[in-house]
C-alpha cells in the first residue's frame, strides 16, 4: 500500500532536490540585484549610504521625477522609441521583401544572396564605425536620428532576412499557385498572401530587432553628440564617473531605461526564445 503510494507520487530523488536548491540559489543571484536596484531607487542618498541593503525607510518617488529631469530622460525615451520604432518598421519591411525573393522566387543567385546577407551577421559593428562616421559627417548625418537609423536598419537586416526566409518557406506553395491561377500578380502574392501569413515571423524578428537596438550603445554614443537627440543607453552614461554621486537618481534612471524591455520580455518571452533559437540554428 505504502509502496504503491510512493510510486504513483514519484518522490523527488535526492539528486533532483540538490538540483532544485542549486537552481533556486542561482535564481536569487539573478533576481536579487534587480530587486535591490528597485529598492535603492526609492531611497534617498543618506539612507543609501547608511544601509544600502535594507529596504527603504521611506519611499522617495520623487527620485524618478528628478532623474527624469536631470538626465533628460523624456527626450531620451522619445529618441529611443522613435529610432527603434522606425528601424523596426523599415528593417522588417525591407527584410521581408528580400526574404520573399530569396525563399519564394526562382533565380540563380538566391542562395548566394542569402549567404551574402548571413556573412553580414558576423561583421562587428566596430568595423564600420570610423568610415561611416567620416562619411556621415560630410553628409551632415551625424548628430541626427536618421543617421543613426541607417546602420541600425542595416545591422538588423541579416537576422530579419534569415528568420523571415524560414517563415516564407513554410507557407505551402499551393496557396501561391492557386492565387496565380486566379490572376494574382507577384506583388499581390507578397502583400496579400505572404505578409499576412508570416505574422509570427514578423513578431519574432521584430522583438529581436527591437531589443538589440534598444540596448545598443556604441553607435549611438559615436553618432549623436547633441544631448537632445541621445538615446536612453547613452543618457545613462551621464551618471557614470567620479563626480556622479546622485546614486539614487541613477538607479531610478536605470529602472526607467530597462522597464520597457522587462515588460516586453515578460509579455513575449516565448517568442523571444523562439527568435533566438531559430536565428541561431544556421549551422
Amino acid at each position: 500500500m505504502n509502496k504503491k503510494n510512493v510510486r504513483t507520487k514519484k518522490p523527488l530523488s535526492p539528486v533532483i532536490i540538490v538540483i532544485y536548491v542549486f537552481l533556486a540559489l542561482l535564481a536569487v543571484l539573478y533576481l536579487a540585484p534587480l530587486l535591490w536596484m528597485l529598492s535603492v531607487s526609492l531611497k534617498d542618498n543618506p539612507d543609501l549610504m547608511a544601509a544600502p541593503f535594507a529596504l527603504p525607510a521611506a519611499l522617495h518617488w520623487n527620485n524618478y521625477q528628478e532623474a527624469w529631469e536631470l538626465g533628460r530622460l523624456g527626450a531620451a525615451l522619445f529618441n529611443s522609441v522613435f529610432v527603434c520604432g522606425v528601424t523596426l518598421i523599415v528593417s522588417l519591411f525591407f527584410g521581408a521583401m528580400a526574404a520573399f525573393a530569396i525563399a519564394r522566387m526562382r533565380w540563380k543567385l538566391s542562395e548566394a544572396t542569402q549567404t551574402f546577407f548571413l556573412i553580414g551577421m558576423m561583421v562587428p559593428v566596430h568595423c564600420i564605425l570610423i568610415p561611416l562616421f567620416v562619411r556621415f559627417a560630410h553628409l551632415g548625418l551625424t548628430n541626427s536620428r536618421f543617421g543613426l537609423m541607417l546602420p541600425y536598419i542595416t545591422f538588423s537586416l541579416p537576422m530579419t532576412i534569415f528568420l523571415m526566409t524560414g517563415f516564407f518557406k513554410s507557407i505551402p506553395a499551393e496557396l501561391f499557385e492557386s492565387a496565380a491561377i486566379d490572376g494574382c500578380g507577384i506583388y499581390r502574392c507578397f502583400f496579400e498572401i505572404a505578409l499576412p501569413l508570416a505574422r509570427t515571423g514578423f513578431f519574432v524578428s521584430g522583438l529581436m530587432t527591437f531589443i538589440n537596438n534598444w540596448n545598443e550603445l556604441l553607435l549611438a554614443m559615436v553618432f549623436i553628440s547633441d544631448p537632445a537627440r541621445k538615446t536612453l543607453p547613452v543618457t545613462l552614461t551621464y551618471f557614470v564617473g567620479p563626480y556622479a554621486t546622485n546614486y539614487v537618481q541613477m538607479f531610478a534612471a536605470i529602472i526607467i531605461a530597462i522597464a520597457p524591455t522587462v515588460v516586453v520580455y515578460c509579455l513575449f518571452s516565448n517568442q523571444i526564445v523562439e527568435g533566438l533559437t531559430t536565428g541561431a540554428v544556421k549551422g
Binding site: I186, V222, L276
Partner: protein, 295 residues
C-alpha cells in the same frame, strides 16, 4: 506560376532596398576601413598612405594595445569556457526537473535582454570600494578588495570582475540554445538507453553530448565573437581604467578613434578585431567536428 516567380524585375525590386543598404552601409565602409588602416589619418587631415606603420606601432610600441589584446583574449577564453560549461549544465538541469522549468529559464535569460549599459552601472556601484558589496563584507569583519580599481597581476582583478558579470548576464543565451537542442532529442533514445542499463551520467556522455555538438559550434562562435566585440560593460564599469589596465579591443578602438581622433590607427585596431573574429569562427568550425546522427 513559374513565370511570375521568375519575374526578373520583381526580384530586383524585392532585393534592391536591402542589398543597397547592405552595400552602402556595411560593405563599402568595411573596405574603406581596411584602406584607412594603412593610412596616417587624423580627423582634420586627409588620409595619407603609410603602409604597415599603424600595425607596427600597435604590435611593437603601443603598450595599451597590448594590454587590450591580452584582456580581450582572456575575456574570450574565460567566457567561452565558463559560459559553455554553465550553459550546458543549466540546460541539462532544466530539462531534467519535473516542474518549474519555464520559471527558471525565464529568470536566467532575463539579463540577456536588458541593456548592458544599465547593468554595468548597477555592478559598478555594487563593486564600489566603499559601498555595495564591501559594506556587506565589512559587517563580517572582512575588508573587501578594491574590486574595480585594483591594478596588480597579469590579469587585473577588475577584468575578473567584469568577466564574472558578463557570465552572469549572458549565460542565459547559451543555456537557451542548448535547451532548444536537448528538447529536440527524442525521448525514445533516452528510454532505450535506460532499458539497456545506462545511468543518467552515461546517457549524458553518450547521447546528450554528441547530439548537442552542432549547437556547440553556433553557441561557441556567438560566444567568442560576442566577447571580442565586448564594449558596454567595460565602458560603464571601468572605462578602461585604472590606468588602461582593463582596456579591451573595443574600448581601445573607441578611445583612439573618438577621444584622440586617430582614425587610421583606430581602423587598424578594427581590422585586427575583424580578423580575430574570422579566425575564431573558422577555428571553432574546424575543431568541433560534427558527425551526423540519425535523430
Amino acid at each position: 506560376m513559374d513565370k511570375i516567380l521568375r519575374n526578373k524585375k520583381a526580384i530586383f525590386i524585392f532585393i534592391a532596398p536591402a542589398l543597397l543598404m547592405f552595400v552602402v552601409i556595411l560593405v563599402i565602409p568595411m573596405f574603406q576601413m581596411i584602406y584607412y588602416s594603412f593610412c596616417d589619418y587624423a580627423a582634420l587631415t586627409p588620409p595619407k598612405f603609410v603602409g604597415w606603420k599603424n600595425y607596427q606601432q600597435l604590435f611593437f610600441k603601443d603598450s595599451t594595445f597590448q594590454i587590450a589584446i591580452k584582456n580581450s583574449m582572456f575575456f574570450m577564453i574565460f567566457s567561452a569556457v565558463t559560459q559553455q560549461i554553465m550553459g550546458l549544465l543549466l540546460a541539462v538541469f532544466l530539462t531534467n526537473i519535473p516542474k518549474g522549468r519555464n520559471v527558471f529559464k525565464n529568470i536566467y535569460y532575463l539579463p540577456c535582454v536588458l541593456s548592458s549599459a544599465a547593468l554595468g552601472l548597477l555592478w559598478a556601484f555594487m563593486f564600489n570600494p566603499r559601498i555595495g558589496i564591501n559594506q556587506l563584507l565589512a559587517k563580517f569583519g572582512i575588508e573587501g578588495p578594491l574590486w574595480l580599481m585594483d591594478s596588480k597581476g597579469f590579469i587585473v582583478l577588475p577584468m575578473w570582475v567584469i568577466a564574472f558579470v558578463a557570465l552572469w548576464q549572458y549565460v542565459g543565451q547559451n543555456m537557451m540554445l542548448y535547451m532548444a537542442q536537448i528538447t529536440g532529442i527524442s525521448r525514445d533514445v533516452y528510454e532505450a538507453s535506460y532499458i539497456d542499463g545506462a545511468s543518467k551520467a552515461k546517457a549524458f556522455r553518450y547521447i546528450t553530448l554528441p547530439l548537442v555538438k552542432p549547437m556547440m559550434i553556433t553557441s561557441l562562435s556567438l560566444n567568442c565573437i560576442g566577447s571580442l566585440k565586448f564594449f558596454d560593460l567595460v565602458y560603464n564599469m571601468t572605462q578602461g581604467g585604472p590606468n588602461h589596465r582593463t582596456e579591451v579591443l573595443a574600448t581601445e578602438l573607441y578611445a583612439e578613434g573618438f577621444n584622440y581622433f586617430k582614425y587610421g590607427y583606430a581602423s587598424a585596431i578594427s581590422v585586427i578585431l575583424l580578423v580575430l573574429c574570422l579566425i575564431v569562427t573558422l577555428l571553432v568550425k574546424k575543431v568541433i567536428k560534427v558527425e551526423t546522427y540519425e535523430g
